[in-house]
């Protein structure tokens, strides 16, 4: 049997990016909601809840980017120039928040500066990712294997909307994470925030979903024309179930349920985007097959991925297991 290597790799890259959004999503969320947390000790606890895992979470972004370079070089070579400004902004945001995890503990006088570096960097990174996503959904112009659009094409009301949506969505992930990992005052605060950010996320998902089908005839066809729409409509139904689980979990004060429900909300929205994109790697200009590197490249890396990704998942899970349970405020990591 002949393996459809480009399709397999498209799935792997899609899963890597999803893993990134789910994992770094909640620790970026902690950064975004950081200024709202009252009290230095509470902020310490919030940061410590993600300190041992953030670096691993962010590595999925490198796998998404590096993987694209490896297996879909044409997509890498056209998407990145097209999204130049938002990606540079994201990188700068990630620099500030990444170093804050260590820098914040290395200075008393400047601690509040790195509080802001952590928050500002997280906000910039999250917003830029949302903008980049929106710009990608709108489509990217490619002629002769090169991006031919302008330097500001990414900036539209729609991409601003997706930027805000992702920003708020990450707050929801962060708030549910805190609700799961902390106790007392901080947990109560997180619970309040889950309500407000959850509601805002839903409104924003609704707005994005209403606008998207009108951006391109393909999207309209996928979502509103029978029989495609029949399959696609499973997604919004499942979203309703996730919302209900989030609501119940929060109401009953369950630790993990709101977090898992919020994560499944993200998975479903992501699946929705995937349905819209297929079969394109770069929307409306480069298909999965056209973007793919030759089979020798795909196969060579696939062998490694098949062996290594399960191992990565095992030790990543182990790291989460080591730091399981509520964060102990007295157990200063630093």
């Amino acid at each position: 049997m002949e393996l459809d290597l480009p399709l397999i790799w498209a799935a792997i890259i899609a899963v890597a990016v999803l893993a990134y959004v789910m994992l770094d999503g909640f620790d970026l969320g902690i950064g975004i909601l950081f200024p709202m947390i009252r009290g230095e000790q509470n902020r310490d606890v919030a940061m410590n809840s993600v300190a041992p895992v953030w670096d691993g979470n962010e590595t999925w972004l490198v796998l998404g980017g590096g993987g694209l370079f490896a297996v879909f070089p044409l997509a890498y070579a056209t998407i990145l120039p097209a999204l130049y400004a938002p990606l540079i902004a994201m990188l700068i945001g990630l620099i500030f928040r990444g170093v804050s995890f260590e820098f914040r503990w290395r200075t008393q006088r400047g601690k509040h500066l790195w509080d802001w570096g952590f928050a500002g960097g997280s906000i910039l990174a999250a917003f830029s990712q949302g903008v980049a996503l929106g710009a990608l959904v709108q489509g990217i112009e490619v002629v002769d294997r090169a991006y031919v659009g302008g330097w500001w094409d990414w900036l539209t009301p729609f991409s601003i909307l997706t930027g805000i949506a992702l920003l708020v969505g990450y707050v929801l992930l962060g708030a549910t994470w805190l609700f799961m990992k902390t106790e007392g005052e901080l947990r109560a605060f997180a619970g309040e925030l889950v309500w407000s950010s959850g509601l805002s996320t839903l409104v924003l998902i609704g707005m994005v979903s209403i606008v998207t089908p009108f951006l391109h005839p393909d999207y309209l066809d996928r979502w509103f024309v029978w029989p495609n729409a029949g399959y696609s409509m499973i997604v919004p139904l499942l979203i309703l179930i996730a919302v209900w689980l989030l609501y119940r979990g929060l109401k009953n004060g369950r630790d993990a349920q709101p977090f898992l429900a919020a994560q499944s909300l993200f998975v479903l929205c992501y699946a929705g985007i995937g349905i819209s994109f297929y079969p394109y790697m770069v929307p409306h200009s480069v298909t999965i097959r056209d973007a793919a590197a030759p089979d020798e490249s795909l196969y060579f890396l696939l062998v490694g991925a098949v062996v290594l990704v399960p191992i990565i998942l095992i030790y990543t899970a182990h790291a989460y297991w080591v730091f399981r349970g509520k964060v102990d405020p007295d157990q200063g990591y630093h």
């Binding site: 370079f69 990145l80 990444g98 260590e102 991006y147």
Partner: protein, 472 residues
């Protein structure tokens, strides 16, 4: 003037700046990762808490430096696409999978175990913690393996073909990875990272020994670092020479630029100093040693060495840059070996910790590894010009469809952010290094203390270990 608005020039400047800023961190963490593993191993083996103290001291510094390496590294992984999209499209099928392997074997490994290494000693116990430290160390080495395979392929491409859309495609992965310059470059860089770390550790140890010669942790640092200098610096000179001969075989124009040779001659003198002038096609103001270049490069008194004029002018690398960066690197390498030898003599005379001038020299040499690494990379990368893939793809043909304002403003943004963030980080690292490793417990060597009056708490392992773990 036109240079400043030329997007290709700006993109090169941006890459040179971000990659130079980045390499400083891995050059240190590759060595420090291994050093931490050795320290923890010694602690587990000997049960001597002094090793754990030194481990904890450097672990904190590792965390700060590693964080800066991660964030500056993510920038690199996106820079290929944003500024060098044609290069990415053409080389992706060959180089992409190597970077993919770097992510899968190295980045995840480091990141997955870093949390346990930094925060998890109490949670997982010493054995599993040691395992985590080892995995972090291996991760840094795997990372060096793959990224140097990538860089070496750009210098000495092998094992590739070309497809109908103009991409380089793999034909033999073994030949791609173990391309002709890779083994030399890999050894040279790993040794460089080890030496860099050794001189930082040695410099910090020496600094504290100058203040308090009895500081046991500082003694451990200094002694271990000087062993490294004594053994590894000469090895590095040998490895560097081999690497140079390999370059002569595969990139002779680079060697001609490094040596400042324009004419192809026999019995070529070694130009010690001078100013290579590409426009005039000669090296001005030179001071030379007769026949030495032939002797070094061909191992024969009258060997022929090619000069730059043997190649078309548009293929010449900018000679003055590589001429000088190479000499800076070599001078630093010999200075390191000299410090190593000096320390060996003082050790023989049992005066290793009581030689103020040696200690001062070690403090002065603390940053020498970083300078040598940067100078070395400038030599090999600028020496590769005007190509991104040597002999195949020119730098001017590799860039994205770039607009100068976009590249220029992102360059300024990176410059300011790096200055602020890594400037602050450097201050924090120096502040950590200025803290005496054994402050408060500097009296546990020598005969001043008798066993009889040692407080029980001080010899109870549980009491002596845990405060250190908390105060990482």
């Amino acid at each position: 003037m036109s240079d400043i608005l030329d997007p290709v020039f700006l993109a090169r400047l941006q890459f040179a700046f971000t990659v130079s800023a980045h390499i400083i961190f891995p050059a240190f963490t590759i060595g420090l990762g291994s050093y931490l593993a050795v320290l923890e191993g010694l602690w587990l083996l000997t049960k001597d808490d002094a090793y754990l103290r030194v481990f904890s001291y450097w672990k904190t510094i590792f965390a700060v430096v590693f964080g800066m390496g991660v964030v500056s590294g993510i920038v690199m992984s996106y820079q290929f696409g944003t500024n060098w999209s044609v290069f990415s499209d053409k080389t992706g099928p060959v180089l992409g999978p190597l970077m993919g392997y770097e992510v899968l074997t190295a980045f995840f490994l480091e990141a997955g175990f870093l949390g346990v290494m930094l925060f998890g000693l109490k949670r997982v116990g010493p054995k599993l913690h040691f395992f985590a430290t080892l995995m972090v160390a291996f991760g840094t080495l795997f990372s060096a393996f793959w990224i140097l395979a990538v860089n070496s392929w750009m210098q000495t491409p092998a094992g590739y073909g070309m497809n109908e859309v103009g991409q380089y495609v793999p034909e033999d992965w073994w030949a791609v990875i173990f391309n002709p310059s890779f083994p030399y470059r890999f050894v040279h860089m790993v040794l460089a990272a080890y030496l860099t770390t050794a001189f930082v550790v040695g410099g910090v140890g020496a600094w504290h020994l100058l203040r308090n010669a009895r500081d046991r942790s500082a003694r451990i640092m200094f002694s271990m670092a000087m062993w490294m200098a004594l053994i590894v610096a000469p090895l590095q000179i040998f490895a560097g020479d081999q690497h140079g001969l390999n370059t002569l075989e595969h990139q002779p124009a680079k060697i001609a630029a490094i040596e400042g040779h324009y004419d192809t001659l026999k019995g070529v003198p070694l130009i010690l100093f001078g100013w290579p002038d590409n426009a005039a096609a000669e090296t001005l103001y030179k001071i030379e040693v007769p026949h030495l270049a032939s002797l070094i490069l061909t191992h024969s008194w009258d060997g022929e060495v090619k000069g730059l004029k043997a190649w078309p002018r548009e293929d010449w690398p900018p000679s003055p840059v590589v001429f000088w960066s190479f000499r800076i690197m070599v001078a630093l390498g010999f200075a390191m070996a000299a410090v190593g030898l000096w320390s060996g003599l003082q050790r023989l005379r049992r005066r290793l910790f009581e030689s103020p001038w040696l200690l001062r020299a070690a403090v002065l040499m603390a940053p020498s590894g970083f300078l040598a690494v940067l100078a070395g990379w400038v030599t090999t990368e600028v020496g590769r010009q005007p190509w991104t893939v040597y002999g195949l793809l020119r730098t001017v043909d590799s860039v994205s469809p770039l607009a100068a304002p976009a590249v220029g403003s992102s360059l300024v943004a990176f410059f300011l952010v790096y200055l602020a963030v890594f400037g602050a980080g450097t201050v924090y690292v120096l502040r950590l290094m200025s803290k005496a490793p054994d402050s408060g417990i500097d009296d546990n060597i020598g005969p001043t203390r008798t066993a009889g009056i040692t407080p029980a708490a001080a010899i109870n392992p549980a009491r002596t270990i845990y405060p250190l773990q908390d105060g990482r």
